[in-house]
Every structure is written in C-alpha cells, then in structure tokens.
C-alpha cells in the first residue's frame, strides 16, 4: 500500500486541477473545503488511502525534480551493508529511484504518516509568480511575490483573509492565484512499535531526499540517508 504515493499523487493531481481551473471533489478535499479530513487540512492526521487517490495516480504526470536520479551499484552496496541486522530489507535494483526505496519502506512497516505541504507556487495569466507558504495549516500561512533576483517579497494576504473561516480562505485563495507551478512537502513516517522512522522531502511530487532512522545490532541509533539535494545524482550514506 503506497500511502505516501497516494497522498503525493492527490497533491499533484490537485495542482493539475488548479492548473486547469477546474473545481473537482479532489480539489475540495485537498484544500479543505469540505469536511473530509485531509493532510493539508490537518497534517497530524493519519494518511488515509482513498480510491480517488488511487485513480488519480494514473492521470497525473509528475514532473521530475532537478538532479533526481537513480541508484548505482555503490549506492545499493551502501544500502545493503548499512541495513545489516536491521528489520528493513529492501529489494532494489540498479536504476531504481528513491521512490522504490520509499515503496519498500512503506511496505515493510506499520507507519503512521504525516505529510506537510510547505510551499505552493502559482503563476497568474500575466506570468507573475505568487508563493503560498504554509507554516501551520490551522493558524499561519504567508504570501509572497517574487523580485527580480528571484527572492520572495512578503505581501499581504488577500483582502478579508483574516476574517474568513480558514478552510474557505484557503480554497478561495488558491483558486484566485492561477496556475500551480511548484510544490514541496515533508513526509514523516513513524512505526510506533519499533520507533523506526523515515523523513522524506518531495518537490513537485517527487522524492528528493530520504532518511531512515533505525536500530540494528546494539542500542545505537543508525541512519540510512539517500538524496540528491545539491548533487548531480542520488547519493547514499550510512550514518
């Protein structure tokens, strides 16, 4: 059960729907318009797998993140030796991507998952970029324009934002913005029985960073980390 993928896919699909200017059920769910619990609405709630999410996977074409890549033989060796004695035994092949590692982790544990979407970027009809930063989905969001250096300029929330019900605000706001061009999120998985955990980061729905914390032989905490941030390809490290 690829819960994380379902969630990411729902997010990506929603972005696509915003792009098309449609207001579907998925969009409503994603931005918390209706009463269904969602991760954006409440990041601490357990991810639930929905049929809408599964269907959406087929429809969504994900944009590969910059610098993303595949595992090479040395990465697979690092993963194998790092996980000696650990519960986690992923089956990976040359050329697999970080998503495969995540899939395997997801299959082998009983996770409680938390997905937090952190940033959404939009472009309006005139090509002007707007950024929506979510600090606390219930309490605090920030809005930014972008300057000539590509750096954020804080802007006021849309008029009436503070007075509206947060759920309505978010939905109305997002629909006003225009085409979605970027999203990033943080995904945490915790197995409450073993206390093993995973922290992953995504860009445009694709995993760019994966770090698992676990105990193998002995009491020491170990970590397997794989990612492509700031690198030209995926790199793995055993810590």
């Amino acid at each position: 059960m690829k819960k994380w993928l379902v969630l990411l896919t729902v997010a990506a699909l929603t972005l696509a729907l915003v792009l098309l200017g449609r207001q579907s059920d998925e969009e409503k769910v994603f931005f918390g318009v209706n009463d269904k619990a969602t991760e954006l609405e409440s990041p601490s709630k357990k991810i639930s797998q929905t049929s809408a999410g599964l269907e959406s996977k087929k429809q969504t074409e994900q944009v590969p993140a910059e610098n993303s890549g595949t595992f090479r033989s040395e990465d697979l060796q690092i993963i194998e030796s790092c996980l000696k004695g650990a519960q986690f035994r992923p089956k990976l092949n040359l050329g697999d991507r970080l998503e495969h590692l995540m899939d395997q982790a997801e299959k082998q544990f009983h996770w409680i998952s938390h997905l937090e979407i952190e940033n959404l970027h939009f472009k309006d009809a005139l090509g002007k970029e707007l950024r929506f930063q979510i600090l606390d989905i219930e309490k605090e969001s920030r809005f930014f324009d972008v300057d000539l250096e590509g750096l954020p300029i804080r802007r006021d929330p849309p008029e009436g934002y503070a007075q509206l019900n947060p759920k309505q605000q978010r939905a109305a706001l997002i629909r006003q913005f225009g085409s979605a061009i970027y999203s990033d999120s943080r995904l945490r998985l915790v197995d409450e029985r073993t206390q093993e955990s995973v922290l992953a980061r995504t860009r445009n729905g694709e995993i760019v960073e994966f770090q698992m914390f676990f105990k193998s032989e002995g009491p020491d905490l170990k970590s397997l980390a794989c990612g492509s941030l700031g690198l030209k390809r995926v790199q793995c490290k055993c810590l």
């Binding site: 940033n119 250096e149 503070a162 009491p219 970590s223 941030l229």
Partner: protein, 426 residues
C-alpha cells in the same frame, strides 16, 4: 534552482591600450563616458560587503562575541539593530546575522518559500539605503521570511561536547511546540544559558538557565526526524546540501535515553559538578523569572481585550489569539515548576538538601506556600502572590492560556469565563 551562488563573482576587466583608428577611439571613449554616467544606476550594493570568510578562527570569534555581548538588552543598545522587535526564530537568525554584518562575513539562509535560491547579504533589494539602514532592512526582511520551521534547513544537529556545542548554538523545540532559543553560553556546570523571545514580537529577550522540559522540547519523543535539539548554523557552502551531508552532523543527542536526556546532556557538557544550592538557586530563579514574565504576557492579553471592547468586538481573530494566548509559555513554565519540585524531592531523598539559603526558600515555598521574601509577585487583577501560590496553581493545571479569560481565571483563581467559552479557540 538550488545551488545558485550566494555571492556574486566579481568580474575583473583588464585595461588594454586602445588600438585602431581615430573614429574608433572616439566611439569607444564615448561608450566609456556613457557607461560612467550610468554607473550610479547600474551599481549593485550588497547589504554589506564580504571582507572575510568563515573559518575556525571566525567561528571562535563568533562564539566569544555571543558569550560576551549577546545580552537580554542587546537590542536596546545603539546601532543599526536598536529597537528591532522579534519573535523566537527571528532572534536565532539575527544572532548570526548581526555578527556577520559587523565583521564583513557572509550570511545566507535557504529561501524557505521554496524558491531554490539563497537569501544572503549579497541581495540588492536595499540598494537605495545607507549602510546601517540596509543592515536593518535586511534583518527585518528576514523576520518576514524565516520561522522555527526553516531553522532545520539552515542548521544541523551537532555532537555533544564543549567544542561542538557552544555560545552561538541554537536549541530548537519540536514543531508542535513552535519554539527556539539562542545559546549564550554553557555554564561550567553544563547548564545552558538561553536567551529567547516569545510572541508577541518585542525588543527584549528572556533569559533561562536550564534545559527546557522534555515534554515541551520533545513532545513527540526524542526522534531525529522531528529536528528538535541543539543545532549549529551551517556554513554557506553546506546550505544546499542534505543535512546528513553537512560537516559536523551528528545523531549523538538522539542516542541518549529520553528519561535521562537532560542530566546526561548536562554531564557531557559539564566542566565540574553542580552543588545542591546552585541547582536550587537556578531552578528557583527559572520559576521566578518565568512567573514574572507570565504576568507581563497575561497583562498584554488583557490590555488587548480592552482594545476589543473599545472597538465593539467580542472575540480575537486567529492571529490575535495566537499572539496573546499562552499555552506554550504555560507548558514551559509548568515544566520549570516540575523540575524544581522533582529536584528538591531528589535532593531530599538522597539527604543532599542541606540547610542552605535556597533549600530553606524552596521548603517554605513548596510546603507552606508562604512568603519567604523571595520572589513575591504583583499580579494585576489578582493581588500579591508568593511564588509558592503561583507554583501550586501551575502544578494543579489551573492556569488558563485563553486570552479571552479574566486575570483571575488566567492565574487559576476562578474558572473559565463566559467570554472565553463563547469565543473560538485556535
């Protein structure tokens, strides 16, 4: 996307003797003249120039500067940053930015809005301002962009010893608690001297000499994926890397058992032991200061409530509620009280309490709830309370963090009021 340099590379132009015909020389000289005329408009001013680069020597200078100069009233002193109002995360970043600006060192953070660039002192947005105003504008700009959520991307968890953790380090609480502290120094006893600020943003810092409670710092357990714990600033070149690729990254803090984390951290950071009197003095001081600061925070909420009355409004909006409610502060404060009680009981059980000044004060406050002359507190709307009475209310979970409540309800001397019941909480 990511990886763009935070420092513009200066291009050097080699001047060659002009060759060619007369007309060419005139054309060229006119071009040079035109460029010269346009120079003021084309010039790019960094917020401050990078005259030095970070090195182990500069890191030590940074630590010494924080230890000696980073005081509660730092922002009341003359200089470009005087009077700035900040919250907890703003303060963390400002500590590093102020030192960098004073010494011509690079300062950069990841753009937390997902832009993929670095926000650094090389930005040109404040070109039109003079040098000091540029620095001030830059730091104020940071306040609108950074948060406790961005701290993990600009720092890394460090190993636990007096070389790796020091003045200028940062303590970050779990996201659930939304809080961070700056480390002014570690005392010889291994206890951190923390300076921080809470909301609403203000110019004065608060001081705490302790390891904050585990329940507040690590409400989701001692799990590295939550990022809570002691952290150091990343070098500029490490900002775009995954945290596990940052030099100095360590999981040591997370190897320590949860139940003994604070005492083990203290042992690891200590140069000598802490006597019973030192411990009680420190814990009483924390309880006293925290209680006095709560008086100020509660009063600000009550004043805001009066403002609402004048405006004919009944309830605060979510932003106001966030600024004037005190659930996190109350949790931290009750954690201080629990530490005091636990340590007192531990010392007594081990026969180490002694009959010193602070042992007597603690006994009077915790058992008699009588005034010992130590830290009596004037609470507007309630009266004069001794610290023992305040501690008892806190330990009995009678404090109300709801800013719609009256002073007496906020301090646990009456139940929740009608206004608090009818207004939404956020």
């Amino acid at each position: 996307m990511r990886g763009s340099s935070s420092h513009p590379q200066r291009k050097t132009v080699e001047i060659q003797p002009i060759k060619g015909g007369f007309m060419f020389k005139i054309l060229l000289s006119r071009s040079v003249f035109a460029v010269a005329l346009l120079m003021p408009f084309l010039a790019h001013s960094s917020v401050w120039e990078n005259e030095n680069s970070w090195s182990p020597q500069w890191e030590r200078a940074y630590q010494n500067w924080v230890s000696e100069n980073w005081t509660k009233d730092y922002f009341n002193k003359p200089g470009p940053f005087k009077g700035l109002k900040f919250d907890c995360a703003d303060l963390v970043y400002t500590m590093r930015a102020v030192f960098a600006s004073q010494n011509g060192l690079p300062f950069a953070v990841n753009d937390p809005t997902g832009g993929g660039r670095l926000i650094s002192n090389s930005m040109s947005r404040f070109d039109n301002l003079d040098s000091n105003a540029r620095k001030r504008a830059f730091v104020k700009y940071l306040f609108g962009v950074v948060s406790t959520k961005s701290i993990p991307d600009d720092t890394y968890p460090a190993a636990v010893n007096r070389t790796t953790l020091s003045s200028g380090s940062v303590l970050l609480a779990d996201e659930k608690s939304h809080h961070s502290w700056t480390v002014r120094k570690f005392l010889p006893s291994g206890i951190p001297y923390l300076l921080f600020r809470s909301r609403p943003a203000k110019t004065e810092m608060f001081r705490r000499i302790e390891y904050p409670s585990m329940g507040f710092t690590f409400p989701n357990g001692l799990n590295p994926e939550r990022h809570a714990g002691f952290r150091n600033f990343r070098s500029v070149s490490d900002l775009t890397k995954s945290v596990w690729n940052v030099s100095g990254y360590s999981l040591e803090q997370y190897q320590i058992p949860y139940d003994s984390w604070r005492s083990r951290m203290q042992q690891k950071m200590a140069q000598r032991g802490e006597s019973a009197e030192e411990m009680l003095s420190r814990l009483l001081d924390s309880a006293c200061r925290g209680s006095e600061e709560r008086v100020e925070a509660v009063q600000e909420g009550l004043n805001h409530l009066k403002k609402l009355d004048r405006e004919g409004r009944l309830c605060m909006n979510s932003s106001e509620y966030d600024d004037f409610s005190t659930p996190s502060r109350d949790k931290r404060l009750v954690g201080n009280y629990e530490d005091l009680v636990r340590s007192y009981q531990g010392l007594r059980a081990q026969g180490q309490l002694g009959e010193g000044k602070y042992a007597k004060i603690a006994t009077g406050l915790l058992f008699g709830q009588v005034s010992t002359g130590y830290c009596d507190i004037n609470v507007p709307g309630v009266g004069r309370l001794n610290l023992g009475q305040v501690i008892a209310a806190g330990l009995e979970r009678r404090f109300s963090g709801n800013p719609h409540d009256s002073a007496r309800a906020r301090w646990g001397f009456e139940g929740q009021g009608r206004r608090a019941k009818s207004c939404p909480t956020y």
